[in-house]
C-alpha cells in the first residue's frame, strides 16, 4: 500500500485480517490523493457497523453518527458549507436497512455528496445476520431456514429514482474501483457507489472468489445516460455488473437553495442581519 497524506500512522484497526474493508480504505485514500482533496476540506460521515469505522482510519474531519443515519448529517453538512467534500460511508445494513428511507429521499433531494456503501451482504458487527442484500436462501442464526426476501438491488432502485450517479464496484479491483470512486466524488450531485466486499468472518457464501466469478464490468462504451439500458443491466440475473450504470446531470440540492444566490459564504462565516430583523419585526405593527 503506497503511503498517502491521509495515513494516521500506527493505529489499531478493528477489522478482521483479510477483510475487504482494508482494500476499500486503500481505494479511498488513493482516490482522494489523486483528486488532491485536503484532509481539512474533507468530511467523512458514517453510521455504525464495521464499515462505518472507516473514518477513524484516515486523516479527515469525521462525523461518525448513528446506525442508519449517515446520509442526513452528510446532507446537512454539505448544505451548510458547500466548500467541503462530503462522503458518507457505511455498511449495507446501515444504508439499505435502518437507513433506507434516507437513501431514498437523498437520491430525490440530490445533495452533492458521495455515498459509498460497503456491501458485504451481511451484518458484520452484530455477528452475522442477513442484510437487505443477502441472497435468497442465505442461512444465518436468525434466518435459520434461509433468507426469503428479495435481495435489495440498490443500483436498480437508484435508477428507478432517477439518481444522479449510480455505480457498483468491488473491493478486490483496487484500480478500477478507485477510478469509479474518483468519478463519483467528482460528480456534482449525489453519487452512489455500491462497493461490494467479502466479509471473511461471517459471509462464507459471497467470498472473494464468488465475487470474482459472479461479476463483470460494463463495456467501456456503455451509455450511462440511457436509463432503461442501465436498468436492464442492473436487474441482470446472471452476473452482477460493475461500473458506472447511470449518470443524470441535475442541479445539486445546495445549488437550488436560495441562500447561496448572492452569497457564497458557508453558514458559519455569516453574521445575522440585525437591520433586516428589525424591519421584519416592524412589519408586525
Amino acid at each position: 500500500m503506497k503511503p498517502t497524506r491521509y495515513d494516521l500512522g500506527n493505529i489499531d484497526i478493528a477489522w478482521c485480517p483479510g477483510c475487504g474493508n482494508y482494500s476499500i480504505l486503500n481505494i479511498l485514500k488513493n482516490a482522494l490523493d489523486e483528486l488532491d482533496i485536503s484532509p481539512e476540506n474533507l468530511v467523512l460521515v458514517s453510521g455504525i457497523g464495521q464499515a462505518a469505522k472507516i473514518p477513524h482510519y484516515l486523516k479527515s474531519n469525521v462525523f461518525n453518527g448513528l446506525h442508519g443515519r449517515s446520509i442526513p448529517p452528510a446532507t446537512g453538512i454539505k448544505a451548510s458549507n458547500r466548500n467541503l467534500v462530503v462522503i458518507a460511508e457505511s455498511g449495507d445494513g446501515c444504508m439499505y436497512g435502518e437507513g433506507g428511507n434516507h437513501l431514498l429521499h437523498a437520491i430525490r433531494r440530490n445533495p452533492d455528496i458521495t455515498v459509498v456503501i460497503h456491501n458485504n451482504m451481511i451484518y458484520g458487527l452484530t455477528k452475522g445476520q442477513a442484510s437487505p442484500t443477502s441472497q435468497i436462501g442465505f442461512k444465518t442464526k436468525i434466518q435459520k431456514d434461509g433468507v426469503s426476501s428479495e435481495p435489495f438491488n440498490a443500483v436498480a432502485l437508484a435508477i428507478s429514482l432517477n439518481a444522479s450517479f449510480v455505480s457498483r464496484a468491488f473491493s478486490g479491483d483496487i484500480d478500477k474501483s478507485k477510478e469509479i470512486l474518483k468519478k463519483a466524488i467528482n460528480h456534482k450531485g449525489l453519487s452512489i457507489v455500491d462497493m461490494m466486499h467479502p466479509c471473511v468472518s461471517f459471509n462464507k457464501v459471497n467470498t472473494f472468489s464468488w465475487f470474482r466469478e459472479n461479476t463483470y464490468y460494463l463495456e467501456e462504451d456503455f451509455d450511462y445516460t440511457d436509463r432503461l439500458k442501465a436498468f436492464d443491466r442492473a436487474i441482470g440475473k446472471d452476473k452482477l455488473a460493475l461500473g458506472i450504470f447511470y449518470i443524470n446531470e441535475r442541479n445539486a440540492f445546495e445549488d437550488n437553495l436560495g441562500i447561496y444566490r448572492n452569497n457564497d459564504l458557508p453558514l458559519f462565516r455569516r453574521i445575522p442581519d440585525e437591520d433586516k430583523l428589525r424591519k421584519l419585526i416592524h412589519s408586525f405593527e
Binding site: P39, E40, N41, V43, V45, I48, K53, P55, H56, K59, S60, N61, V62, F63, N64, G65, L66, R69, I71, P72, P73, A74, T75, G76, I77, A79, S80, N81, N83, L84, N101, H102, L104, H105, L257, G258, I259, R261, N263, P266, L267, F268, R269, R270, I271, P272, D273, E274, K276, L277, R278, L280, I281, H282, F284, E285
Partner: protein, 568 residues
C-alpha cells in the same frame, strides 16, 4: 329595546366549520382593531380536519392588555349551525348571538338576526360574508375606515384591484350595519401607543426569536401544532439566509440539523410529541457528540396521535428523560410572546455555548395565540459576535478535557485542524475508544458541564409579595391566564411563581415555597413539573389544578379552581 353595554372589554367568539373562514375574520379583525388603538387578544381551537366540523376563535378587545383565554362569551357569531359540546358549555343566557337565521343555538333568546349572506351576495358572492362580519364589529367599535382600507389593501395585496375594492365595500357595508346596531353599546378606550404595538402569534414569536438567535438551518417534518415555525422560517429563507428543509421524516430532520450544526450552522428542529419520540436517539447523539441544537416542541395531547390540534403541557417528562445515557440539557417553556422571542434567541446562544440540546416547550394554545405587545419588550441583542466557534490549529482536539467540561469547538474547514465527532465513546480527538478509563473521564466531562449551565438558570417569575400564604407554581403557556385570574381581589393571599426554565431548576425555588401552601397548575394529567419539584427539592404539593381534555385553562376555570383550593 334592551341595551347591552360593554365597558373596557368585549369577548367575541366566531364559530363555524373548518373552511368557512373563522381564521380570516380573526386575523382581519385583530389587525385592524389594534391599528385603531385597541388592545386585542385572539386564540383559536379547531378540529383535525380541513373542512366541516366546528372550530372557533375568541377575540378579546380591551383597553388594557388581557392576554388570556376566557370562557365567557359576550358576542358569538355562528357562521354555521353546528356547535361542539365544549363551545356550547360557554354560551350563557347573556351571550348575544349575531348571525343568520338557522345558525342559532335552538333555545337561545338573546339573538340579533342579520342576513350577512344576502349583504355579501349583493356585493358579489358568499365569499364576502366574513368581511361583512368583520366590518360589523368594526362598526360597532369606534374604528377609522381609512385604517381598514389600508389594511385590506395589504391583506389582498397580490390580488387585482377589483377584489380589493369589493372587500373594502364589504367592510363598509358591515360597518354600516354595525353602526346602526343600537342594542349594543361598547365603551372601550383606544390608546395611541397601541397603534404601533406589534401583533403576532406564539408561532411568530418563536420563529422571530430563532432569527434573532442567528438560526440559519432548520430541517423538520410537518406536525401540528409545530409546523408554523418551519413555515415562517421558510418564508424568510432568502431574506435571512436560512436553509429550511422539509425532511422525509423526523429522524432525518434531527440528524440533518445535527450535521448542519457540526458544520457551523445555528440549527434547530420543530416538532410535536409524536415526532419528537422519533428524534430521541438523535437527542442522545446530540448529547454524546456535544453538538449544539435547539429543539422546539409544540405540545399536544397524547398518547400516540391523540388529539392532533389540541393543547397540553404533557411532554415535559418525556423531554427531560429523552435519550439514553447521561448528558446535560436545558428546557425552556416560554410564558408570553415577548418571552417566546427572547427565550428562543437565548436558546441558540446557550446551545452554542454549552454544546448541548436546548429544548423549547410550547403548546398549541401558545402557538395559536395572538396579542399586541410593545415593540421595545423585544430585546434584539448584538447578534454579530455571539458565536463560540473557534478556528482550529493543527493539533486541535474536539473533546479536549477542560476544567468546566466545555471544549473549544471548531468546525470542519475552519483552520488547520480536523474536527472529529463520534457517537461511540471517544478520546479527546474524537476517535472511538474502548478504553474504559477514558470513558469515565469523558462521561464526567460531559456531565460536569451542568455546573456551568447552572450558573445561567433563569430565575422564576414572581407575582405578589412574599408574605402571602399561598403560592401557585406553574410553567410555560399558562402564565397570562393565571396572572389575569390573580388580579381578582379574592386571591390577594395567593402569589405566583412561574417557571420559564423548567430544567435545570433555579435553586431559589425551595426558598420561595417554604412554609407556603403550594397550588400547582399544569395543563396535563399528572402534574409533571410538580413531580420534578418533588424529585429535585423534595417539595410536596397537595393542591393541584390539572387539566388534560385538550383545551387550555380559561380565566374562569382558574378562578373557580383557586376558590376551591382556598376553601379546602
Amino acid at each position: 329595546m334592551v341595551v347591552n353595554e360593554f365597558n373596557n372589554k368585549l369577548i367575541i367568539v366566531i364559530s363555524g366549520q373548518a373552511g368557512q373562514g373563522v381564521s380570516t375574520v380573526e386575523s382581519i379583525l385583530t389587525s385592524i382593531l389594534k391599528k385603531n388603538g385597541y388592545n386585542v387578544f385572539a386564540t383559536k381551537e379547531y378540529m383535525s380536519r380541513i373542512r366541516g366540523g366546528c372550530n372557533s376563535s375568541e377575540i378579546i378587545v380591551s383597553d388594557i392588555s388581557i392576554n388570556s383565554f376566557c370562557d365567557k362569551i359576550d358576542i358569538l357569531f355562528p357562521l354555521d349551525k353546528g356547535y361542539s359540546s365544549h363551545l356550547l358549555k360557554r354560551i350563557s343566557r347573556d351571550t348575544i348571538m349575531i348571525g343568520e337565521k338557522g345558525n342559532f343555538y335552538p333555545d337561545h333568546e338573546n339573538i340579533i338576526e342579520i342576513d350577512f349572506s344576502s349583504i355579501a351576495r349583493k356585493l358579489g358572492g358568499n365569499i364576502y360574508t366574513n368581511i361583512v362580519i368583520a366590518g360589523l364589529m368594526l362598526g360597532m367599535l369606534d374604528t377609522d375606515i381609512s385604517i381598514s382600507e389600508e389594511f385590506i389593501q395589504g391583506f389582498f395585496g397580490k390580488k387585482d384591484n377589483e377584489v380589493i375594492k369589493k372587500n373594502i365595500e364589504a367592510i363598509r357595508s358591515g360597518m354600516a350595519e354595525g353602526i346602526s346596531l343600537k342594542q349594543i353599546k361598547i365603551n372601550i378606550e383606544k390608546k395611541e401607543f397601541v397603534k404601533t404595538n406589534l401583533l403576532f402569534s406564539g408561532t411568530d414569536s418563536i420563529a422571530l426569536g430563532a432569527i434573532a438567535g442567528g438560526c440559519n438551518f432548520i430541517a423538520s417534518y410537518p406536525m401540528s401544532p409545530s409546523t408554523g415555525v418551519l413555515t415562517f422560517l421558510s418564508q424568510q429563507s432568502r431574506e435571512f439566509g436560512i436553509i429550511a428543509e422539509q425532511a422525509e421524516d423526523e429522524i432525518s430532520a434531527i440528524n440533518m440539523s445535527l450535521g448542519a450544526s457540526y458544520a457551523g450552522a445555528r440549527s434547530m428542529v420543530t416538532t410535536s410529541g409524536g415526532g419528537f419520540a422519533l428524534m430521541i436517539e438523535g437527542v442522545s447523539l446530540c448529547g454524546m457528540t456535544e453538538t449544539p441544537l435547539v429543539i422546539h416542541i409544540g405540545q399536544r395531547p397524547g398518547p400516540a396521535t391523540g388529539l392532533p390540534t389540541r393543547t397540553e403541557q404533557g411532554d415535559l417528562e418525556m423531554v427531560l428523560y429523552s435519550g439514553h445515557g447521561s448528558f446535560p440539557r436545558i428546557i425552556f417553556a416560554p410564558s408570553t410572546l415577548e418571552n417566546g422571542f427572547c427565550i428562543t434567541q437565548k436558546a441558540f446562544n446557550l446551545a452554542d455555548k454549552f454544546q448541548i440540546p436546548v429544548f423549547i416547550l410550547t403548546d398549541q394554545y401558545f402557538l395559536d395565540t395572538y396579542y399586541d405587545i410593545e415593540p421595545d419588550t423585544l430585546d434584539i441583542p448584538d447578534t454579530g459576535n455571539k458565536s463560540c466557534i473557534i478556528e482550529s490549529n493543527l493539533d486541535y482536539k474536539r473533546y479536549e478535557l477542560t476544567i468546566n467540561g466545555i471544549s473549544p469547538r471548531s468546525v470542519p474547514g475552519y483552520g488547520k485542524g480536523l474536527v472529529v465527532v463520534d457517537s461511540d465513546e471517544h478520546d479527546e480527538i474524537g476517535h472511538l475508544t474502548e478504553d474504559l478509563d477514558i470513558r469515565e473521564e469523558m462521561n464526567r466531562k460531559r456531565i460536569s458541564k451542568i455546573e456551568e449551565i447552572k450558573k445561567a438558570i433563569i430565575p422564576p417569575v414572581l407575582l405578589g409579595d412574599l408574605n402571602r400564604n399561598y403560592v401557585i407554581v406553574s410553567w410555560g403557556s399558562t402564565f397570562n391566564v393565571i396572572a389575569e385570574a390573580l388580579k381578582n381581589k379574592e386571591f390577594k393571599d395567593i402569589a405566583l411563581m412561574h417557571l420559564i426554565q423548567v430544567y435545570p431548576l433555579h435553586d431559589s425555588i425551595p426558598e420561595y415555597l417554604k412554609n407556603k401552601t403550594i397550588i400547582l397548575i399544569e395543563n396535563n394529567e399528572t402534574g409533571q413539573l410538580g413531580r420534578l419539584l418533588k424529585l429535585e427539592f423534595g417539595i410536596n404539593i397537595e393542591k393541584r389544578i390539572l387539566k388534560s381534555n385538550g383545551l387550555p385553562f380559561s380565566k374562569e376555570e382558574i378562578e373557580e379552581n383557586l376558590r376551591i383550593a382556598l376553601r379546602s
